[in-house]
């Protein structure tokens, strides 16, 4: 992304060649020696105040990427730079400080809150652990609740007394309590009903505008990702296959996987459905334990020019148009139609 507009600020987060694997349990006695390469060489960066959408199907490694950045899962290789600081080199004390600056919101509104703690206890604990707001902790908790659209009297309630959307607001309040700069949003609305989804999405947009937050928005819903993101990166089998400004990616996708993904999204437009051509991919996503050689997408790729190169040589992310990279041997260079 050498052609990034020069006026833009330094990126807040830079990720280079990130790799995270899990040992695979197999055989009768534990480890089989095989490694599941959940994240297999991921590069991207996010500028301050922007939203990068990370999309892909289940098992593509998008969630592991998000957690590796925060070192909730220790990455194996690669470089993570947050505001110039090398995240992988942080010691315990520095890591704790880093975690005040980068937070995460989870998918599951039922599993992400401790069922034994009331809302007030949960938020006060965060503040106490980090020595924040000691003068008026209750006041700060109420402020946080109001910030995410909940009411002060909710402070004494327990998680099970809230609806899914409200729980997700609580998860956001908890993440905001340490006043972070970066939020990793790991499928923050996919467990919610559509009407509630929109409430939470609007809340996230408002928070970003008011607090200047930077988002890594992980989701599988392409329409949603396009809606919230400035840039979108598409992952397949642990790798980023395409990364472009959101409008460009949706208007002019270069990677055959992105094209298939976009055409597979069901659209609420019954009148246009007869005219639309849908690319239906055959087969399933291969196992990340033994990914295909060369381009990981080649066994399912519908590209007419697919050849030997695709099955033998792994394509690198290559700039096809200014600011628009794709990892495909066959994707055309230069501006599209």
């Amino acid at each position: 992304m050498s052609e990034a507009p020069p006026a833009a600020a330094e990126p807040l987060l830079q990720v280079r060649r990130l790799k995270t694997g899990f040992p695979v349990r197999g055989g009768a006695l534990g480890r089989s020696g095989a490694v599941l390469k959940a994240v297999d060489g991921v590069d991207f960066e996010i500028r301050r105040g922007e939203t990068l959408g990370l999309v892909g199907e289940s098992g593509c490694g998008k969630s592991t990427t998000g957690r590796s950045i925060l070192r909730l899962i220790e990455p194996d290789e690669g470089e993570i730079r947050f505001d110039g600081m090398d995240v992988r080199a942080l010691d315990r004390k520095e890591l704790r400080r880093f975690r005040r600056r980068a937070q995460i919101v989870f998918q599951d509104p039922y599993g992400s809150l401790n069922p034994r703690l009331s809302v007030g206890a949960m938020l006060e604990e965060v503040l106490r652990v980090h020595g924040l707001g000691w003068a008026d902790r209750r006041g700060r908790v109420v402020e946080l609740l109001e910030r995410v659209g909940l009411r002060p009297e909710h402070v004494d309630r327990y998680p099970h007394e809230f609806s899914g959307g409200q729980r997700q607001r609580l998860g956001i309040a908890r993440a905001l309590s340490v006043e972070p700069e970066l939020l990793v949003l790991d499928e923050p609305v996919s467990a919610l009903d559509v009407s509630v989804q929109a409430q939470v999405v609007n809340l996230l947009e408002d928070l970003q505008r008011d607090l200047g937050l930077t988002y890594l928005f992980i989701a599988h819903d392409l329409a949603l990702v396009e809606h919230v993101s400035d840039r979108v990166a598409v992952m397949y089998l642990g790798r980023i296959v395409e990364n472009a400004p959101a409008d460009r990616l949706y208007r002019d996708p270069r990677h055959p996987y992105t094209r298939a993904l976009l055409s597979a999204v069901p659209r609420p437009d019954p009148i246009g459905r007869a005219q639309r051509t849908r690319i239906v991919l055959g087969g399933d996503v291969p196992s990340p334990i033994s990914p295909p050689s060369g381009c990981p997408f080649h066994p399912r790729c519908p590209h007419p020019a697919k050849d030997e190169t695709c099955s033998s040589l792994r394509p690198a992310l290559e700039e096809k148009v200014a600011g628009h990279v794709a990892a495909c041997h066959k994707a055309a260079l230069g501006p599209g139609k």
């Binding site: 199907e57 289940s58 609806s163 959307g165 409200q166 009903d193 559509v194 009407s195 509630v196 989804q197 929109a198 409430q199 999405v201 609007n202 947009e205 599988h220 819903d221 392409l222 329409a223 949603l224 396009e226 809606h227 919230v228 959101a246 409008d247 949706y250 298939a260 993904l261 976009l262 055409s263 597979a264 999204v265 069901p266 659209r267 609420p268 437009d269 019954p270 009148i271 459905r273 849908r278 239906v280 991919l281 055959g282 399933d284 996503v285």
Partner: protein, 345 residues
């Protein structure tokens, strides 16, 4: 007393309904009180068509589909007097357990959201398909196996001859859903009830399954009742749509009518809260608040508290108001007056 129907289903020019659900009420007795999960639902499905029931969680769409097959445990569930479910004219409410078993899996089949828990992990998939065939169609073991292979082939499983001996855990999610569909097809049902069949699947696999359902419907002339929360899926595959909210049908119509000219504020709200690939950057318009609890439906219009158009008159019980064409109706007194066409920014 809010389940009254003014729009009668089934005009003279329409083909006879395959499934006719009229005034269905399925209530649950719980510790918190009586949950009126399904509270006066009327719709029909005609031969060969795909009808979608769409709504958010807790709206009663799944309970409706389970009631049709008599699959709900009683107690706590009870289907109230006055409910009617007719399949080819035969009343299923109050039918004997024996009769329901004969219909289930034979004339009406069902597939579920979670294909892993719907398959028995200890038997090969061929045996599970074969069991239905032997039970309902009296086939021998050998015939059943041949038929199972043919069915797996029909639902697009490559190498069916080999796959027939595999166990559920050896298959991917999309494959399992195909196996479930093969099982559902085994008795050549006239109606397939699909409860969120693609919700657990990735978008590319979802596209495969939807394609398969459409192809099967074309080749077999089978009617499909699709239960889903996903408006996109509804728009892709359905002919007619039933929108449910808080245990009631709030709007009915053809898929074009529902999406291009929604008359109930809830339907409009759902459409407006959806991010669209075709209109990025539009600020989403959420529906404020949350769905009330089924033990505690409000009087009058149940959507009133969340409705941008609510007025005093909405406190009265609302009936479905017919909107011209035979089956078109919305449960809102303002529906006839609401202008045609949805404003798109």
């Amino acid at each position: 007393m809010s389940g009254g129907e003014t729009a009668t289903a089934g005009g003279p020019e329409r083909p006879p309904a395959l499934l006719e659900v009229t005034g269905l009420r399925t209530w649950f007795d719980t510790d918190q009180g009586t949950a009126r999960a399904v509270d006066g639902v009327t719709f029909d499905v005609r031969a060969g068509e795909t009808v979608g029931i769409v709504g958010e969680s807790g709206c009663g769409k799944t309970v409706t589909s389970l009631s049709v097959l008599g699959l709900l445990p009683t107690p706590p569930a009870r289907v109230l007097d006055g409910s009617s479910i007719r399949f080819r004219g035969e009343e299923l409410v109050g039918a004997t357990a024996r009769r329901l078993r004969a219909i289930r899996g034979n004339e009406i089949s069902m597939i579920f959201q979670e294909p892993m828990s719907s398959l028995n992990p200890v038997y090969p998939i061929g045996d599970q398909i074969g069991e239905t065939l032997r039970l309902h169609r009296g086939m021998s073991r050998r015939e059943a196996r041949t038929e199972a292979v043919r069915l797996l082939d029909e639902v697009g499983i490559a190498g069916a001859e080999r796959r027939v001996d595999e166990y559920p855990h050896e298959l991917s999610g999309g494959m399992r859903q195909r196996v479930m569909i093969a099982m559902a097809l085994s008795c050549a049902p006239d109606l397939l009830i699909a409860d969120e069949p693609t919700t657990a699947l990735d978008v590319t696999i979802q596209a495969q399954i939807l394609e398969l359902l459409a192809a099967l419907r074309a080749s077999r002339g089978m009617a499909v009742l699709l239960i889903t929360h996903d408006l996109g899926v509804v728009a892709e595959v359905c002919d007619r749509v039933v929108v449910m909210y808080a245990g009631q049908v709030v709007e009915r119509g053809t898929v074009e009518e529902i999406f291009a000219d929604p008359r109930h504020p809830y339907t409009r709200g759902l459409l407006d809260s959806l991010p669209s690939v075709d209109e990025p950057g539009r600020r989403l318009v959420p529906i404020p608040g949350t769905v009330p609890a089924p033990t505690d439906w409000p009087d009058g219009c149940r959507f009133r508290a969340r409705c941008p158009l609510a007025e005093e008159r909405c406190g009265e019980p609302q009936d479905l108001v017919g909107l011209g064409r035979e089956d078109r109706a919305a449960r809102c007194w303002k529906a006839p007056a609401v202008g045609a066409g949805r404003e798109r920014p």
